[in-house]
Amino acid sequence: MNAVLDAAAMVQSNPHNPVHGVPVLLANGVEKTYGNGTHALQRLKLEIGRGEFVSLLGPSGCGKSTLLKMFAGLEQPSAGHVRWWGKGQINHSAAEQKLAMVFQEATLMPWAKVADNVRLPLDLAGVPRAQSQRRVDDALQLVGLGQFGHVYPRELSGGMQMRASIARALATEPNLLLMDEPFGALDEFTRNRLDSDLRQLWAARDLTVVFVTHSIYEAVYLSSRVVVMGARPGRVIADVAINGPQQRDEAYRTSAEFIQQCAQLSALLAEANAEGGH
């Protein structure tokens, strides 16, 4: 449990090289067609390895959120299949195959204190209170909300609410974290800070992240790999490795490398949008 905070130890046991072996997530020939004929995803193939930080980047309507919901098991593909750690469904009893999701909004229960919100997944899973309390405290500490467990969500700023939402996901000690444009509604300053905190968090843990965003800068800053998606129908257009340094800070945002990667993705996205316009 203390390993949560013991970043150094985790880094050694988990060098963030894509581990060869069973992919954490695999989408094969995935299609999604809605009742009204909307083709949200078309023959999509995507493999995500252990320890990767993958951003799904694309214009609205490219099906990136739909794909993420499928990865969460909240939606079923119309055709094709999704595999979690090589299995056709999520194995909820395996401790090293835990999945958590952070939504577009903080999605906190307004009637429950922050700590109770963070504890919710543990309560639902029947984790004993003594154990869950420590995990909740650790998670709140980790996102910088150690002093705010006993306040109600409405008393927190938007950025702090999002932090609480991340703490709720972390409290379950996930191996796979799915994030659906979590910082989209925040101001740029807050978003940059949360991006940087998230990146550090990921680097310190054995954590695979799939992050949906429509911000090129955010994708490049955070990711080890960016999957560019196109709209109508939703599909993968490009799969780009981001070769930035392991340790990323504000200076990285102004480095030539960063700007060059952003320009490359920007061109790919423009191309995708031009095609989609037909």
């Binding site: 999701m101 009637w111 997944p121 639902l124």
Partner: protein, 267 residues
């Protein structure tokens, strides 16, 4: 500037209580002055002082009737809440159940109680029970519709979160649906409490009970027949005060249970 240094009328708490009281006092004063100045006969419009005197003089009689009306109001309100919430839980089980039953709930709401009260009084021999049934019919609809609305008004994101964490149906109900429904439920309570009182009074008008079990509606009817207009007004005052009191209790209840998180109870 702290509260103690503020001019008294700038204090929001004082404003909330003192301002309406002041308006009431001014209106009563004007009423009193007009009655005296124009020499209005007491059997047309009694002055507030006349009404006050009657309230004191007829106190025992009126308080006894108030107790009868209050008893019927509270019983039917309680019944409306219990049955209404139960009905709401049944309705939200499936769209089919709601679609097949909700029209009849609406039927209940749109049928005037005056029109069905005679029937109920014939069917139910115990007068008190008959009045309770009538008042419950009047009060139950807002409880049902508000609770159904509340149980359905769950943040879809939170519902996904519960699904993702494989919450059971029971856990979802207890930890998500019921808390989400509370603000709506209390809104329903506020309306239902007033309607229960109206239902109790209207039903008694129709039933026209007398003797020891006479409520305020009966006193109003009798006072009207006897041209005892001050007593009629005194009974009216008691009914209104009861309504205001019920509303305040419901508001306090809502504030007590929602005040710490829901926007409707802030400021």
């Amino acid at each position: 500037m702290t509260a103690s240094h503020m001019p008294l009328l700038a204090n929001p708490a004082v404003q909330r209580i003192a301002a309406p009281l002041l308006v009431g006092a001014v209106l009563l004063g004007i009423w009193q002055i007009l009655c005296v100045a124009l020499d209005v006969p007491v059997y047309l419009v009694p002055s507030p002082a006349d009404i006050g005197r009657t309230l004191v003089a007829d106190g025992p009689l009126l308080l006894g009737s108030l107790w009868v009306t209050l008893k019927i109001t509270l019983l039917s309100f309680l019944l409306a809440v219990v049955l209404g919430v139960l009905a709401a839980f049944v309705f939200v089980q499936s769209r089919v159940i709601e679609a097949s039953l909700f029209p009849y709930a609406i039927l209940l709401q749109v049928t005037p109680v005056v029109a069905i009260a005679p029937l109920i009084i014939i069917w139910v021999s115990n007068t008190t029970l008959a009045l309770v049934v009538c008042a419950t019919l009047v009060a139950i609809f807002p409880v049902i519709s508000n609770t159904v609305l509340g149980l359905r008004s769950v943040n879809p994101g939170l519902l996904n979160l519960f699904k993702l964490n494989r919450a059971s149906r029971w856990q979802t109900l207890l930890r998500l649906r019921i808390p989400s429904a509370l603000p709506f439920f209390f809104g329903g309570l506020r309306i239902a409490s007033g309607l229960a009182l109206i239902g109790a009074v209207v039903a008694e008008f129709v039933a026209g009970t007398g003797g020891t079990g006479a409520g305020l509606a009966y006193q109003i009817l009798q006072a009207g027949f006897q041209m005892n207009i001050p007593r009629l007004f005194a009974a009216l005052v008691l009914i209104s005060l009861t309504g205001v009191l019920l509303f305040s209790v419901m508001a306090a209840l809502a504030r007590l249970s929602l005040g710490h998180w829901h926007d409707s109870e802030q400021g």
